[in-house]
């Protein structure tokens, strides 16, 4: 279930992580795990990044790495920065609404018992 939820919000998560700092694909996946999500499979992660790139929200750059082949780094474009702000707003709204529906009835129950 959690995996499915993340699927719907993966774009927002990726944009927010990239707003913090530029990163490469594996790096983003690891940061998601650190944050407490399950491992995002490559078959989901890379197409999502590709979609963001195609939409002009991120740009990519190949950079030589100290170990092994060059890595593809992702960073936000100007359009991406605006996108992040809009999506954060939307998320705040959504979160408030979710909390109102899911969390408060539980709280009320706890108080009642």
């Amino acid at each position: 279930m959690r995996q499915q939820w993340l699927h719907g919000f993966l774009d927002v998560c990726l944009l927010s992580l990239l707003a913090e700092r530029r990163d490469y694909g594996r790096g983003l996946a690891e940061r998601l795990v650190e944050a407490g999500f399950d491992e995002v499979p490559g078959g989901t992660l890379y197409p999502a990044l590709l979609r963001l790139e195609k939409q002009g929200l991120v740009r990519t750059e190949k950079e030589a790495s100290t170990s092994g082949p060059p890595r593809k780094y992702y960073e936000l474009t100007e359009l991406g920065r605006t996108g992040v702000r809009e999506r954060r707003h939307a998320w705040e709204h959504f979160k408030t609404a979710m909390d109102a529906v899911v969390v408060s009835p539980l709280d009320a129950e706890e108080v009642g018992t």
Binding site: Y24, P41, G43, K54, K72
Partner: protein, 276 residues
């Protein structure tokens, strides 16, 4: 060939068969392999089967181009107007007093249970069936995709393009170029010399859809293809419907899926007509 390279070759093959240009497909496959190599993981474990990954990637590429430039919606003139349309077969009433006004740049969905007259209504709009009463006004430049038998099993897609192109006085080359271009938007690249009977059900439906829009019609009449369509093709199909809309066509589509209807402009719900 190592298993990794084999996977890369497969990916490239599947990417090009979904209509992605070779140069871009090469780059995408190369990136995927490089990324896996850098992470030191077998690409099969990292991305899953090549065919599945290719289809997700292809969809990402196409969906992006679909939404890249969201056009400001402009509604054009009316392209289809139904006024009090009814249909009776002998004593059986099929349609009763249907009204609709569809403008260029709008999508209308016809929904209803089996036997509620959805296909009859589409046929009336196509001019294949005469309404018993009521008025049908329609633009002459129309595209039409029936649910069944809209293609010839023993002709190749290219021959279909030629035949349908000829109706609009297109030359052979032009028709083939336009047809192939439209096909790639649905994630399909027609292979030469393969007759329709040898294509999968989903691919036949894609051909069916492409043929309906060869002449850039002002109005497209469609029976939603769902037999043989997988989820991805289905999403592509609706993306295509909205692309047509943004391109300024009016679309009338008989649909069997009842969610996502808030994205269309008109919903025409037909009821099986009760006999008194």
């Amino acid at each position: 060939m190592t298993p990794e390279e084999e996977w890369g070759t497969q990916l490239l093959k599947h990417l090009t068969s979904t209509g992605i240009a070779l140069a871009e497909a090469r780059e995408l496959a190369g990136d995927a392999l490089a990324e896996a190599a850098a992470a030191g993981i077998d690409p099969r474990a990292m991305y899953g089967p090549a065919v599945a990954y290719a289809s997700t990637v292809a969809q990402a590429v196409r969906s992006a181009t679909a939404t890249a430039a969201p056009l400001s919606r402009t509604r054009g003139p009316v392209v289809l107007r139904l006024h009090g349309v009814s249909k009776r077969y002998r004593r059986r009433r099929v349609l009763k007093n249907v009204h609709l006004s569809l403008r260029a740049g709008e999508v209308a969905a016809i929904v209803g249970a089996n036997g509620s007259g959805k296909s009859t209504l589409l046929n009336i709009c196509a001019g294949l069936t005469r309404a018993t009463s009521g008025v049908v006004e329609r633009t002459a430049r129309v595209g039409y995709a029936p649910q069944q038998d809209g293609v010839a099993p023993l002709l190749t897609p290219e021959e279909h393009f030629r035949l349908f192109g000829a109706v609009h006085r297109m030359g052979r080359k032009k028709a083939a170029a336009i047809g192939t271009g439209l096909a790639s938007r649905l994630g399909w690249r027609p292979r030469e010399g393969v007759v329709v009977a040898h294509l999968s059900g989903g691919t036949q439906q894609k051909l069916n859809v492409v043929l309906s829009e060869l002449n850039r019609p002002e109005l497209i009449l469609l029976d939603e293809p769902y037999q043989g369509f997988d989820q991805g093709s289905y999403v592509d199909f609706w993306d295509q419907v909205f692309r047509w809309r943004d391109g300024g066509a009016g679309i009338l589509v008989v649909t069997h899926m009842l969610h996502d209807l808030d994205r269309v402009d008109h919903v025409l719900e037909l009821q099986p007509v009760e006999e008194p």
